[in-house]
């Protein structure tokens, strides 16, 4: 069996599982975002009164942090009251940041866990050897009421990255390249394990970006076998006991693909589909109205550090706005301590409260008609970050920062010391 299958079997109270089998699993952590008041409505509509276990429920005020309309404020108010009534202590209010980063920061993402959140990028937690998957409001309400959810045991695909990345090439470039080759629906209903020698050159932040983007191939979950790099991170954050599962040597993947990334160049996903990926050279010179660094994909301290190195002592182009949204409070504090915030503010960047901000096109950095944006986020669908005619390019933090500096798309390798 695969490590993921062993994990699912354990949580379903079985000794084994088969691909395609429908199983009912106990959920270790159920997360709700402030977008989905339906979750609470459905919970009561189903006749439930108390959540299954208030310590296994976490509430995130991240997408609207802080509220920018009265409706959002009303929704958040109802969520807070629900948490207080139900004894849910893990109320991550508007000071905390994006759900996935908050879980990682607080040591709530760990190997062997099943974490289900009302957010499609819950695949991020595969970076820690957890089974993370996104669901809608009604599914989450079922967990709140019963502590369990049904899953179809997925086929598992292995994607290997081999080789040492060139300077200026990041996990974001690798995963964009893979999505470009394989397509936005390549892994629908399936789980993806990432493997290969390149992982030894990727820190936890980069691995999170990779697992996060597996959602953009349609994956249900992702997985990286915990290793020394994972353990160094977990040892600092996680205090609870956990179990690491291993894949049997004779396990057969539904598909196995290897990318040699030693010659990979910086990549961009061009409007308006995430699998529209090319070498950045194809787009050099396109004027940028807004450069955006943030989100659960590309808003960590490491990403902000890359931008600070590129903009140190320099100025953002006068025709470009550079919006930076730290993924969490922890990220912002680290970026402040390391001096990144000062460097970037002096260069002309605009800092926004930790949270989702304009990543989903609701507030704090919306795009006007016809504007072009380069961003570290994960989706460039029409209208994702504002007006439907705005053009969104997805790239690495270095590509975004270098383009902010020059006011147009440039090859970030020319701007890294």
């Amino acid at each position: 069996m695969h490590a993921i299958e062993k994990l699912l079997a354990k949580k379903a109270g079985q000794t084994s599982v088969q691909t395609g089998e429908i199983i009912n699993c106990e959920i270790d952590m159920a997360g709700i975002n402030d977008l989905y008041l339906q979750t609470i409505r459905s919970f009561f509509e189903m006749g439930a009164t108390r959540v299954f276990n208030p310590h296994k429920v976490i509430m995130f005020m991240d997408h609207y942090a802080p509220a920018s309309t009265i409706t959002q404020a009303q929704n958040q108010k109802q969520f807070r009251e629900f948490c207080w009534d139900q004894g849910i202590d893990l109320l991550m209010d508007i000071d905390q940041g994006v759900c996935h980063q908050v879980l990682a920061d607080k040591g709530l993402a760990y190997p062997g866990e099943i974490v289900v959140i009302t957010d499609s990028h819950t695949t991020t937690h595969g970076a820690f050897g957890a089974f993370g998957t996104g669901v809608g409001a009604t599914d989450l309400a079922i967990i709140l009421a019963t502590g369990k959810l049904w899953f179809r045991v997925p086929e598992i695909i292995k994607i290997n990255f081999e080789g040492i990345p060139q300077k200026g090439v990041y996990a974001k470039d690798m995963i964009l390249h893979a999505i470009g080759v394989l397509g936005a629906d390549y892994a629908v209903y399936k789980a993806i394990e990432f493997g290969g020698s390149t992982l030894q050159h990727l820190c936890v932040s980069e691995r999170m970006a990779m697992c996060n983007m597996s959602t953009e191939m349609g994956a249900k979950a992702s997985y990286i076998q915990p290793d020394a790099i994972t353990m160094a991170f977990l040892n600092e954050k996680v205090t609870r006991p956990y179990e690491i599962y291993q894949t049997d040597a004779n396990f057969r993947y539904a598909d196995e693909i290897t990318f040699d990334i030693s010659h990979l160049t910086p990549q961009l996903s061009a409007p308006s589909s995430v699998d529209n990926v090319d070498d950045i050279n194809k787009y050099i010179g396109i004027a940028i109205a807004q450069a955006y660094l943030g989100s659960c994909t590309g808003g960590r301290a490491e990403d902000i550090g890359i931008a600070a190195a590129i903009l140190d002592g320099k100025k953002v182009s006068s025709r470009t706005r550079f919006v930076i949204v730290p993924a969490s409070k922890g990220v912002l504090l680290e970026a402040m301590e390391k001096g990144y915030v000062k460097t970037l503010m002096e260069a002309g960047a605009t800092f926004v409260t930790p949270g989702c901000a304009a990543c989903l096109g609701t507030h704090e950095g919306m795009l006007a008609s016809g504007e072009t944006c380069i961003t570290t986020t994960n989706r460039n669908f029409p209208g994702r970050m504002g007006h439907v005619s705005a053009q969104i390019f997805l790239g690495s933090p270095a590509a975004v920062a270098a383009s902010a500096l020059m006011g147009k798309i440039v090859d970030p390798r020319d701007y890294l010391k």
């Binding site: 989905y36 997408h63 409706t71 499609s120 349609g218 989903l360 096109g361 029409p382 209208g383």
Partner: protein, 168 residues
């Protein structure tokens, strides 16, 4: 649930994502009646003036990709969409729609067999899809579990019964 669903077809392409079905800036709305005002707003803001009860959406691959927002399924159900036939669906959208009792059918090449405004029928149990010109294709049969949810009018009433059984 009626065994044969019939309606006018609305044809869409590949990778119709949830931002096109229901743009992010309207996600703060929580009542189904309000959510219904913005169905397919990202592709065609006039869609809600053209759609009638029982109409059928026909699409290419990966329909409903992107965000987990249940609004995308709620809005289509609320404007009266009777079924969606696509070449494939994104996973979360699939779960959301079935949970709400909105039937989805997976059928390869369907977007090349049906024209905009065609009258289309689908047999829920056999998956047979037909139009005025006769049988067009056959969708993958729905799993027993999915049929059970649809026949209960959505998963909420199922869970409700389970919870009542537990407490009685």
């Amino acid at each position: 649930m009626k065994p044969i669903l019939t309606g006018k077809a609305f044809l869409f392409g590949n990778n119709i994502d949830t931002d096109q079905i229901y743009p992010g800036r309207f996600v703060e709305l929580t009542d189904a009646k309000d959510i219904a005002k913005y169905a397919m707003h990202g592709v065609d803001p006039e869609f809600i003036t053209k759609v009638h009860d029982g109409d059928i959406i026909v699409a290419g691959t990966n329909f409903g990709c992107g965000s987990s927002r249940e609004h995308a399924a709620i809005t289509l159900k609320e404007v009266g969409i009777g079924a969606i036939i696509a070449e494939s669906f994104a996973r979360i959208f699939y779960r959301n729609a079935i949970n709400l009792g909105l039937p989805l059918f997976i059928c390869p090449h369907i977007s090349t067999l049906i024209q905009h405004n065609d009258r289309v029928s689908i047999d829920v149990f056999t998956g047979a899809i037909s139009s005025a010109s006769g049988l067009l294709s056959k969708a993958e049969p729905l799993s027993e579990y999915v049929v059970h949810i649809l026949e209960s009018g959505g998963i909420k009433s199922l869970v409700k019964k389970q919870l009542e059984a537990r407490s009685s």
